[in-house]
């Protein structure tokens, strides 16, 4: 090709393809997303954050926590467990059911196996429930119960997915560590987790002379080696409280159409 213009147009088309595909397309597909409904309960998801947590999102951004933490859970697939809810009305049925139970594999099944096992028990007159759960390394590690889905980020700005897990994933940290005081202590002195490699964020706190009565929000239960000198107390600044409110608002723990699972709490007696 001799002319710069020829190159120019060809290049525009080749490069522009990805612009259409990865910028315009997703914006049209995802940019107009609305709240979805939670399976079973029918509540709307996600809920708008409180004002304090929204401010905390900016503290998280400003301090670059995303350099070490991701906010996106992965899952490989799902597995099924068959759970006996009632062994049957008569003792005869119950023994028959328990005999069959002993021969059956009930956990970690795929859909067909689960249906087959459940079928055998219900045929005898027992009652069972099939529980669905997500599988994968992130879930096995205890970080959450399902993978993250697009809807989880509806109210995030900026969306801070992160790309390195120098520390644990935080997509569901509010679900698994729900104690605000633990988070405050941890930000002040990550060393409370033994062998922690996380830097402390002491500048979000103020160490000051304690009055006759300790301040209402002074940190409690700091282990000895991190506690301030006698007569002093550690008080979180507003940023610290906002940040913790944000951390507690990070949850991916309700079943959605895109990420179904059987919540443990709904298994009513």
């Amino acid at each position: 090709m001799k002319s710069g213009f020829g190159v120019f147009f060809a290049v525009v088309i080749a490069l522009g393809g990805s612009w259409v595909g990865l910028v315009v397309g997703p914006t049209l597909q995802l940019g107009t997303a609305k709240q979805t409904t939670v399976l079973v309960s029918g509540d709307l998801w996600p809920q708008q954050r409180t004002g304090e947590a929204t401010l905390g999102m900016q503290v998280y951004r400003a301090n670059g926590c995303a350099a070490c933490h991701t906010e996106q859970m992965r899952q490989d697939g799902v597995s099924f467990d068959v759970v006996l809810t009632s062994p049957g009305k008569t003792p005869a049925v119950a023994t028959a059911v328990s005999n069959v139970l002993a021969t059956l594999k009930l956990n970690d099944l795929d859909k067909e196996e689960a249906d087959a096992a459940a079928g055998k028990i219900t045929d005898l007159g027992g009652k069972v429930e099939t529980h669905l759960s997500a599988t994968g390394t992130d879930i096995k590690r205890g970080w959450g119960v399902r993978h993250s889905v697009a809807a989880d980020y509806l109210y995030d700005a900026p969306v801070q997915l992160g790309n390195l897990r120098a520390g644990p994933d935080l997509a569901n940290v509010g679900g698994r560590l729900a104690d605000a005081n633990w988070h405050l202590n941890h930000l002040y002195a990550p060393g409370i987790v033994s062998g922690s490699r996380m830097p402390s964020f002491k500048f979000l706190f103020e160490v000051r002379k304690a009055g006759a009565k300790p301040s209402a929000d002074a940190l409690l239960n700091l282990p000895k080696e991190f506690a301030p000198a006698d007569g002093y107390e550690v008080v979180p600044k507003p940023e610290a409280k906002e940040l913790v409110a944000y951390l507690l608002s990070l949850r991916a723990d309700v079943p959605l159409y895109e990420a179904p699972f059987t919540p443990v709490t709904t298994a009513k007696p």
Partner: protein
């Protein structure tokens, strides 16, 4: 005068026309490179003792690391690349730089933008989007300055006598077009008062990160290498066809990479990205073929000289692109995702591939535009070997850390040792960068003194002598 002499006179004039803009671009770039590596070094201390940076609210790991990365790409790589592009275009066109004052002004605006951006990051004003941390004011400065330099480069390109395009033209023209496009798009979609909603932000951010760090740097690095390698080895680029093939496949497939597997987005996005990553094998092979065929039988005695920068840098591209392919394989990708391995790829792309090629080019161009030798010629070799050792001690441990961390399912303590080794690699890289900066500073200083002297001489010269001259 024989034709060769006219050619030389002509080249000297062309080089002189590039002098001031290139000094402004390269000088700032070398300074930012030193600072960027210094901050990367400081950030890496966190893995020796997490508390080291914890007392200063400015210097937290998140700030220092973001500042380091931004300095390396926006501070060093882009202005250095722009300088190299201006010079290559002027040389290939056999024409003086058009509007040389425009890139001078643009270079200063650019460096101002970088300064504002990095200062804002330290102040906690980062935007929170990877590679787009700079605030709006800095982004606007960068965007405008880039377009200004591009105008001068394209106008110079328009002056060319030879209508046929050289392969480097393709790569570098595409780079001039692509940066303003991706930068304005992502800043408008993410940085405006009403950014797109929800996870679409993440998709655009991934697209930008890949297109900046992988595609844009590849266009610049390969375009530069394909100019210098034939020039230094005295062999023609073999072949034009393979080079253009690499170009087209790179921009067709490279631009779609970046959405990680399992991302919380509609499944077609990561699937497309993974397919595009596999296809990268094609440009990788094409570049390897160009390199091998061009250098086959070429005898270049270069023990750490500019030729080594170019050749080694191009090999680093092959490795960095292969690392992307590995990350896209489901088997390895699920272990390596979110680990240091990805960081190793990014740093290799910036410091190993483009960093070496641009430093080599600067070493080659500087003496020509200043029409004097480098003040410390030995530094060229020393910097090469420092960078070589530094890359080995930085990138390899980082990649190993990634594998260890992945195998240990993200146990934060898993990769302690390799992460500590990285610090020593960064020290060597930093030492190399300081040598480059010293060379540029001394050269600029000498040139300014000479300018002042000749101005002084012109003012104080007795009248007759000037009459004699004319």
């Amino acid at each position: 005068m024989n034709p060769a002499d006219t050619n030389q006179v002509c080249s000297a004039k062309i080089d002189a026309s590039c002098r001031v803009p290139l000094l402004a671009l390269f000088g700032g770039a070398a300074l930012w490179l030193v600072l960027g590596l210094a901050f990367a070094l400081i950030a890496s201390l966190t893995f020796h003792n997490p508390e080291i940076l914890a007392y200063c609210p400015c210097l937290t790991y998140g700030h220092t690391l973001a500042a380091a990365n931004n300095l390396l790409v926006y501070g060093f790589a882009i202005p250095a690349a722009l300088g190299v592009i201006l010079w290559i275009f002027a040389r290939l066109s056999q024409a003086e730089l058009v509007l040389p004052i425009v890139p001078v002004a643009a270079a200063n605006l650019w460096h101002l933008g970088v300064f504002v951006g990095v200062a804002t990051i330290f102040g906690g004003g980062s935007s929170g989007y990877t590679w787009l941390e700079f605030p709006r004011a800095a982004a606007a400065l960068l965007g405008v300055s880039f377009v200004l330099v591009a105008i001068s480069a394209v106008a110079t390109f328009g002056q060319r006598q030879e209508r046929e395009l050289y392969p480097s033209h393709w790569f570098l023209l595409a780079a001039l077009l692509w940066f303003p496009w991706i930068y304005s798009t992502s800043n408008l979609f993410l940085g405006s008062n009403h950014p797109v909603r929800g996870v679409a932000q993440g998709v655009i951010n991934w697209w930008y990160a890949d297109n900046l760090v992988f595609v844009w740097l590849a266009l610049v690095g390969l375009g530069t290498a394909f100019y210098f390698i034939p020039k230094i080895s005295g062999q023609p680029l073999k072949s034009r066809f393979y080079a253009l093939f690499a170009f087209w496949t790179l921009i067709l497939f490279g631009t779609w990479i970046g959405i990680p597997a399992g991302a919380p987005v509609p499944a077609w996005l990561p699937t497309t990205s993974a397919l595009a990553s596999y296809m990268l094998i094609i440009p990788i092979i094409a570049v390897a073929v160009v390199l091998v065929k061009t250098l086959w039988g070429a005898k270049v005695a270069s023990f750490g000289g500019i030729f080594c920068y170019m050749r080694f840098g191009t090999v680093m591209f092959l490795i960095s692109a292969l690392m992307l392919v590995v990350q896209a394989c489901p088997k390895h990708g699920s272990v390596l995702e979110f680990t240091w391995f990805g960081q190793a790829q990014v740093q290799l792309q910036i410091l190993g591939f483009v960093g070496l090629i641009l430093c080599g080019a600067i070493h080659d161009i500087l003496p020509q535009i200043m029409s004097t030798e480098l003040p410390f010629k030995k530094f060229v070799q020393v910097q090469f070997w420092l960078s070589f050792a530094g890359l080995a001690l930085y990138i390899i441990p980082l990649a190993v850390a990634g594998v260890m961390q992945g195998n240990a399912v993200y146990d934060p303590a898993a990769a302690k040792v390799p992460l500590m080794i990285c610090t020593s690699g960064l020290m060597l890289l930093l030492a190399g960068a300081v040598l480059l900066l010293v060379n540029i500073l001394v050269m600029t200083f000498k040139w300014k003194i000479a300018l002042a002297k000749s101005a002084y001489a012109a003012v104080t010269a007795p009248l007759e002598s000037s009459e004699v001259k004319s």
